[in-house]
């Protein structure tokens, strides 16, 4: 109850107001951490307030005013978070941009958002912005955080974050009323004004700018902070992309509502170590991150001694049997409980410590379907991992699983104060406290997405099961039919495929065709490790992907999926009849995936049209040449002959018998 009280104390309908509240209420509490030069640097709320004020006034001195848009480009760094607050304090609208966006993508967003000032992390981002600067008539200034390599640059329109702050500090010292005026402006700020523009990666076409208002954002964050009982004693590690709604919601919005400390990792490569050192209490990871972690653990265990391996296997098996029941407070016999306790002492706790999960109270995963085994693995260790379903347009939460009602195949009931409606075609509509105001400069699109009575169309198809939990099948427009009328849900099939650790990515085809086919991307870590242990020499992804033994291995996985599909009456017709292993990994740099690592289906279909034709024409192999983009933007050609393999389908009726045989 005391926790609740703390949350309620911070009043305000803009983030800047919330910040000033925290400065008043808990000035000496740590608000921000960042590991720099190997040491965790900290900033209290009072210090944060000062940093934000000086930078905010600095932005003002560069001409930033109410309604102007300020781009924020870079990794999770305290200064970039302060820049967001600093812009919001002026009534300006921050526009975070994915740091790994190539110059072209970046220029689209900066241009579309009519950005006036860009606050960027380092030389790399400065160079990127400069390379497209002439296409950006509104851009007036660039401010950088890390001065490394930038000394020789012309500083007419380029400013150092720190230098700007220093200048303002001097001016504030001379004119103390500056600070007071700044605070007054914050107090006058309106919560209904736009507070941020988040660009969605969009699986089709250019990305759209989702405009959110602070009063709605804060309202949504208050609900979930109460839902998960977050307080100022919680800890998060901000490692998700700054420009993604997840980070802005889970770290920033919830952080400013609850007043907890945000820790920024030293670099993207050290996140794992930093997590271990901080030990967050609230954590979010997309399924693919959880998967990668698990793969790493398993590979490390392969190298461990025999005794350790035996213990690991034994206790994991025990956890799989009882762990989730222990976590959910179910009925567990004393013996099993004791053994679980021992397992915790010997295996689970050390493992969680290595992963940095020792102190987690609440963890979420979302973004794509999570494999039941993967989900159960983390939960059985005693980690309270839950699923949520959300959208940028909703300012994240649409549904989420309350503690104790966790299932791997649904995403839970509606989040607090969210209304969900499912229309006849199966598409999910919602109305939520945090929902967006509209798309930036795109009223048509906004009108298209919103119903007249204020619901937002998600574009996803789903249904409620008997417990009132939402189950998402696929994108509404992607659920289709084969030529013979069988139901065909590509995402559903692909997710089943991706649950195999050998398979990193899969793309299924079949709309208006006679049967289903699939592209497979193997997981280089898992398969490469297997190859190493089996003395299979390979020099590249391409070579490994084309190896007959790998085909054999993948075919076995696909057989299993087919067997499972055969067991589901509505899906039996959608078994995979032919497949191929792609000669390259699908890559965001080549436009095959979104920056959030989702496959762009239509783009892939177009790009690999010859391969799809080959899949449906009965050929056993097909030559293909593909243009690839290197990280520095140069392009090259990759050509290969891709083999195609046929699979035997399972009759729908005998599936049960097969499954028993398999178990």
């Amino acid at each position: 109850m005391a926790e609740k009280a703390v949350v309620d104390q911070v009043v305000g309908d803009t983030f800047a107001k919330l910040m000033l509240e925290h400065v008043r209420l808990r000035p000496q509490r740590i608000a921000m951490r960042w590991k720099d030069l190997g040491i965790w640097q900290t900033w209290t709320w009072a210090e944060t307030g000062e940093e934000v004020m000086t930078f905010s006034l600095g932005l003002k001195s560069l001409g930033v005013a109410h309604g102007d848009r300020v781009a924020i480009i870079g990794a999770n760094r305290p200064r970039l978070y302060w820049a967001i607050l600093a812009a919001q304090a002026l009534g300006a609208v921050p526009v975070p941009v994915y740091a790994d966006a190539v110059a072209d993508e970046m220029s689209y967003v900066l241009d579309h958002a009519e950005v006036k000032v860009a606050v960027v992390q380092d030389q790399e981002q400065v160079d990127k912005v400069l390379s497209v600067a002439e296409r950006l008539p509104t851009l007036k200034h660039i401010v950088y955080d890390n001065e490394r390599g930038l000394r020789a640059y012309d500083h007419t329109h380029l400013h150092s974050f720190v230098a700007l702050q220093q200048t303002m500090r001097a001016r504030i010292a001379a004119e103390p009323q500056l600070g007071a005026a700044w605070k007054k402006a914050i107090a006058d700020g309106k919560g209904s004004d736009p507070s941020i523009v988040l660009y969605t990666s969009g699986t089709t076409g250019r990305s759209k700018g989702v405009v959110l208002s602070s009063e709605r954002s804060i309202a949504a964050a208050r609900d979930t902070v109460a839902f998960d009982r977050l307080t100022d004693a919680d800890e998060v590690v901000c490692y998700l992309p700054l420009a993604w709604v997840g980070d802005h919601y889970l770290s920033y919005a919830q952080g400013l509502v609850a007043g907890f400390c945000m820790s920024c990792p030293e670099s993207q490569a050290t996140v794992q170590d930093d997590l271990r050192e901080i030990g967050p209490t609230f954590y979010f990871a997309p399924p693919r991150t959880l998967e990668a972690l698990l793969t790493r653990v398993m590979i490390r265990m392969e190298d461990a001694g025999a005794l350790k391996q035996a213990m690991f296997k034994f206790f994991l098996a025990h956890a799989r049997r009882w762990g989730e029941k222990v976590l959910d407070g179910g009925d567990v016999p004393a013996g099993a409980r004791l053994l679980y306790w021992l397992g915790n002492l010997l295996i689970y706790a050390p493992l969680k410590n290595v992963l940095g999960f020792s102190r987690i109270r609440t963890a979420y995963t979302a973004g794509e379907a999570i494999g039941p085994d993967l989900f159960a693995f983390y939960r059985s260790l005693g980690i309270n991992l839950k699923q949520l379903y959300g959208q940028t347009e909703a300012f994240l939460y649409v549904t989420c699983q309350p503690d104790g009602q966790i299932r791997s195949d649904t995403v839970g009931p509606a989040a607090p104060r969210v209304d969900i409606r499912i229309i006849d075609s199966g598409e999910v509509y919602f109305r939520s406290p945090g929902q967006f105001i509209g798309y930036l400069k795109d009223d048509d699109k906004t009108a298209e997405t919103m119903t007249p009575d204020g619901y937002v169309k998600t574009g996803d198809a789903g249904f409620f099961d008997q417990d009132g939990h939402l189950k998402i099948i696929d994108r509404a427009k992607d659920v289709g039919q084969l030529r013979n009328g069988s139901l065909y849900a590509p995402k559903y099939i692909e997710n089943k495929l991706k649950f195999f650790p050998n398979i990193r990515e899969a793309v299924a085809f079949g709309q208006d065709q006679d049967f289903v086919t699939a592209f497979i991307n193997i997981d280089l870590t898992a398969v490469g490790n297997w190859a190493e242990r089996n003395n299979l020499a390979y020099s590249s992804y391409q070579e490994l992907a084309g190896h007959p033994r790998i085909y054999e291995m993948i075919a076995a996985n696909l057989d299993e999926v087919n067997r499972a599909l055969a067991g589901e009456p509505r899906m039996a017709g959608a078994q995979i009849k032919r497949f191929l292993i792609l000669h390259k990994e699908l890559d965001a740099d080549d436009g095959e995936m979104t920056r959030t690592q989702k496959v762009r289906r239509s783009f892939v279909a177009e790009r690999y049209d010859p391969l799809i034709n080959a899949l449906y024409s009965g050929k056993t192999e097909c030559p293909i040449a593909t243009e690839v983009t290197f990280e520095d933007g140069r392009k090259g050609m990759l050509s290969a002959v891709v083999k195609i393999q046929d699979l035997t389908l399972f009759p729908a009726a005998s599936a049960a018998a097969y499954r028993e045989a398999a178990e």
């Binding site: 030069l37 190997g38 008539p137 020789a152 030293e266």
Partner: protein, 276 residues
């Protein structure tokens, strides 16, 4: 965007380089070196100016690495003299060279494989550590304070080279590209006046090469270090260096700016002609 804005693009990096008649840091005069009957270097003279990036190129066996070994004190030339920071000498021992401000990396990476990244780079601080033997056994007081200061310096280098994630890993198990980076870090830890890089980009992929180029340029910008490097990738050499000296069969055949060297007929014959 305004015109002024587009002009904000990085000033030509060579602008920071010294003019052609900058102060000479190292001068090699008429140096000859032979092993038994094999003449590795024959009467080579050139100089390296303060703050410049100087490339030494030439076909295999041209005597490039031998030249670095002479400068660095590994080899003692039979003839000739070397002037470094105004002091003339014909031979010096490696640790004298190190103490004098010459650091280097090696063609095939010579790291302390059993030690962590931190320890490797700390080893580069060996000469900077003043407290004597007795102090080291007693790990308190001034020795500890000194250790902390060195550690801070080393952390700065780790940050500079963006190798935070491998800070505590034994270097023997790192990928080659990272090993090269750690080796550069160890050389930088010596705060050298002259940094000798022996094929810093050998065996790297395009991306790693670009990173390394950036580190080399940033090293000069950040620390004002003079750099002499041997490199086979001509694109890299032409982009990076202010002046190039070309060796062939132990003799100097050309010396000048990248453009001058590129146009030099004897270089085309001896080197570029051979290479293509």
């Amino acid at each position: 965007m305004s015109d002024a804005m587009t002009r904000m693009a990085p000033a030509d990096v060579t602008m920071a380089a010294p003019a052609r008649d900058g102060e000479v840091l190292l001068k090699v005069e008429d140096v000859s070196l032979s092993f038994g009957g094999v003449k590795a270097i024959q009467g080579v003279s050139f100089d390296i100016r303060k703050g410049e990036i100087r490339a030494i190129i030439g076909p295999n066996g041209a005597g490039k690495t031998s030249m670095l070994n002479v400068i660095n004190g590994f080899y003692h030339p039979q003839q000739g003299r070397i002037t470094f920071k105004g002091n003339v000498r014909s031979a010096m021992r490696p640790h004298e060279a190190a103490a004098g401000g010459i650091a280097r990396t090696f063609q095939n990476v010579a790291l302390f494989k059993g030690m962590s990244t931190i320890d490797n780079i700390m080893a580069g601080r060996s000469l900077k550590m003043k407290r004597g033997f007795g102090w080291q056994l007693w790990r308190g007081g001034p020795a500890l304070a000194e250790d902390v200061a060195h550690r801070r310096f080393v952390e700065g280098i780790i940050d500079f080279l963006e190798i935070q994630a491998i800070r505590k890993q034994p270097v023997g198990r790192l990928p080659y590209g990272l090993q090269k980076r750690v080796e550069l870090g160890r050389a930088l830890a010596m705060e050298p006046d002259l940094l000798l890089l022996d094929e810093p980009m050998a065996g790297m992929n395009v991306e790693e090469k670009e990173d390394m180029c950036r580190f080399i340029l940033d090293t000069r910008e950040q620390f004002g270090t003079t750099i002499a490097l041997i490199e086979h990738d001509m694109g890299v050499v032409m982009d990076l260096s202010d002046r190039v000296v070309v060796l062939d069969y132990g003799r100097k055949i050309a010396d000048g700016t990248p453009d001058e060297v590129k146009a030099d007929q004897s270089v085309i014959d001896a080197y570029l002609g051979v290479a293509h």
